[in-house]
């Protein structure tokens, strides 16, 4: 609250006071009151006018400055009412009470939204678990009656499975709920599981799957990591080049602070104009448009999951040559000590 702005706001009081002083002076002059007395009366009036404004200004200043200050410093400014005292002047009380009511109705509204979102999330999760039952029976039926179905059916089924999985992890990544469990995981085991899961696709596409020795334990949620790696490998398969020695090469290194897993392919790569946006929601880029089947969600979900787990994911690529994805797992000193 600034003095000059406050005074400007009180212009009407100045004008009215000046008019009243002029009137008083004129009346007193008409009654032939001595000039000294006139000066004295006007002086008293002016002093009291200034006192009145001053008191009013300082009462309000205390409250408003406190309010503005705390709004600026709070990261959730809607909580400011919890931090300030109720003012003792009338306008301030109105403002305070109204802010309180507005806040209350907003919180109620958010609560309803949150509940709806939670219900929706739970429904989707439940639905996914439901839909996996017919999927599982389809997989088994297909396997038991290989002669009735060709590889196309199997591939479509795999796609269906992957898409359902993606929805599940989207829901998990976008919600504040903690449905993950971080513990020591053997990185090589997760890589193997992802490889096995995508074995058919890799073999069909004649992509060599080269995995170096990965002797590291990392702190992560195995299921989430499996999904993240699955998405990365799916992308490598999807955006491969039709060359003879197409490969996916996986290795890892430890540089004291973190363990980094590298997934490299020699696929079509990502244009440099697109590389900064690959993690953006629904961004498909040049490659996605060419392929026509990209949703632009895979890497976004990966990024969100990584953020939640505390991992770092980065991509570097040279168009027409390679794409490298780096997944970094930070070491937790505290956890090491606990062990």
């Amino acid at each position: 609250m600034k003095l000059n702005k406050y005074l400007k706001d009180k212009t009407y009081a100045f004008i009215l006071s000046i008019i009243s002083y002029i009137l008083i002076i004129l009346i007193l002059l008409a009654f032939k009151v001595s000039k000294d007395l006139i000066v004295l009366i006007i002086a008293i009036l002016i002093i009291f006018f200034i006192l009145m404004l001053g008191i009013d200004y300082f009462r309000k200043r205390g409250f408003y400055c406190d309010l503005l200050n705390k709004i600026n410093y709070l990261d959730k400014s809607y909580l400011v009412l919890e931090m300030i005292n109720k003012p003792d002047f009338y306008e301030g009380k109105i403002l305070y009470d109204d802010l309180y009511n507005i806040n209350k109705s907003m919180i109620e509204n958010i609560k309803i939204q949150e509940e709806q979102l939670q219900d929706f999330k739970e429904y989707i999760e439940m639905w996914i678990h439901e839909v996996k039952i017919p999927l599982a029976s389809l997989v088994l039926t297909l396997n038991n009656h290989k002669k009735l179905f060709d590889n196309k059916t199997k591939r479509q089924l795999k796609r269906l499975e992957d898409d359902v999985e993606q929805v599940l992890y989207y829901v998990r990544a976008e919600n504040a709920n903690k449905d993950y469990l971080i513990k020591d995981i053997d990185l090589a085991m997760v890589v193997k599981r992802v490889g096995l899961k995508n074995m058919d696709d890799l073999l069909d596409n004649k992509i060599a799957f080269k995995v170096e020795n990965i002797p590291y334990q990392v702190l992560t949620d195995a299921k989430w990591l499996e999904f993240i790696l699955g998405q990365i490998i799916n992308n490598s398969i999807k955006y491969k080049r039709s060359i003879k020695n197409a490969y996916i090469h996986i290795w890892a290194y430890d540089d004291d602070k973190q363990v980094t897993l590298v997934i490299e392919d020699n696929g079509i790569g990502i244009p440099s104009s697109d590389i900064d946006q690959v993690f953006d929601k629904t961004f498909t880029g040049e490659n996605g448009r060419k392929q026509g089947t990209s949703t632009g969600m895979g890497l976004t979900i990966c990024k969100n999951l990584c953020t939640k787990l505390g991992h770092q994911i980065t991509i570097e690529s040279k168009q027409g040559e390679y794409t490298r994805v780096y997944l970094s797992f930070f070491k937790n000193k505290y956890f090491e000590v606990l062990k």
Binding site: I128, H129, E130, K132, I133, P134, L135, A136, S137, L138, V139, L140, T141, N143, N144, E161, L168, D179, Y180, L181, K183, A188, K192, G195, L196, K197, M199, L203, K206, A208, F209, K210, V211, D221, A222, K223, W224
Partner: protein, 220 residues
């Protein structure tokens, strides 16, 4: 022949699962009525139980806890809930493994095989006619002669040995190889099989591994 009990309330899944396990040389029992599951398991005394978490009357996790009070039979939890928390809980309750639906049938078979192997006596040495096969050393012994197999050849040979007189598909072999961190391609599999054949031929088994066109291989 190991006995496996399937506890699964979805009829299509349990029927197909039964077919899959039977064609892979297991004896299979299903449960139709879930009111008295625990006693049914105990009276059948299977070598392994495939247990779904979502079954009628009693949740699979509770059933597992009750079962563990009375029996040490190996249990593989099979479920569509794929969170780490559920997995850790199941293992804490005493499950031997945890597989999520939808599962790859070959992988399921491998995991069943692994659990059965872990719980039975260690069979590191297998006999095949007059051959003695030491799996961990990768060694075949016939009298005084020794033949060394590479890791890949040993994985293939031991898979065939464990499924004798049954057609083994390339897909199954491939899955087992990948499961052992040997991420090879189709050509390499063919090469490994012909090398294995050559080595068997050297010690007098000319046509031990036969090719069944379009189906796979059979060790007789």
């Amino acid at each position: 022949m190991p006995k496996i009990m399937i506890i699964e309330d979805d009829e299509v899944i349990s029927k197909e699962l039964k077919e899959l396990l039977q064609s892979n040389g297991y004896r299979v029992a299903l449960i139709k009525d879930f009111t008295n599951t625990l006693n049914e398991i105990l009276s059948y005394s299977p070598d392994l139980v495939l247990l779904d978490i979502n079954i009628p009357y009693m949740n699979g996790e509770v059933l597992l806890q009750n079962l563990r009070k009375k029996s040490n039979v190996p249990v593989i939890m099979v479920t569509s809930k794929n969170t780490e928390v559920d997995e850790v809980l199941s293992i804490t309750y005493g499950a031997d493994d945890y597989i999520t639906k939808p599962y790859n049938p070959n992988i399921l078979l491998l995991r069943i095989g692994a659990v059965l192997k872990r719980t039975s006596k260690n069979t590191n040495i297998i006999n095949y006619h007059d051959l003695e096969i030491n799996i961990s050393k990768g060694l075949i012994t016939k009298g005084d002669t020794e033949v060394i197999l590479t890791k890949n050849e040993m994985i293939i040979f031991s898979y065939l040995l464990n499924h004798q007189n049954r057609i083994v598909t390339r897909d199954e072999l491939m899955t087992d190889l990948w499961n052992n961190d040997e991420f090879i391609n189709d050509n390499a599999l063919t090469v490994n099989i012909s090398r294995l054949r050559a080595k068997l031929k050297d010690i007098g088994y000319y046509k031990a591994i036969e090719t069944r066109k379009g189906l796979g291989y059979i060790l007789s």
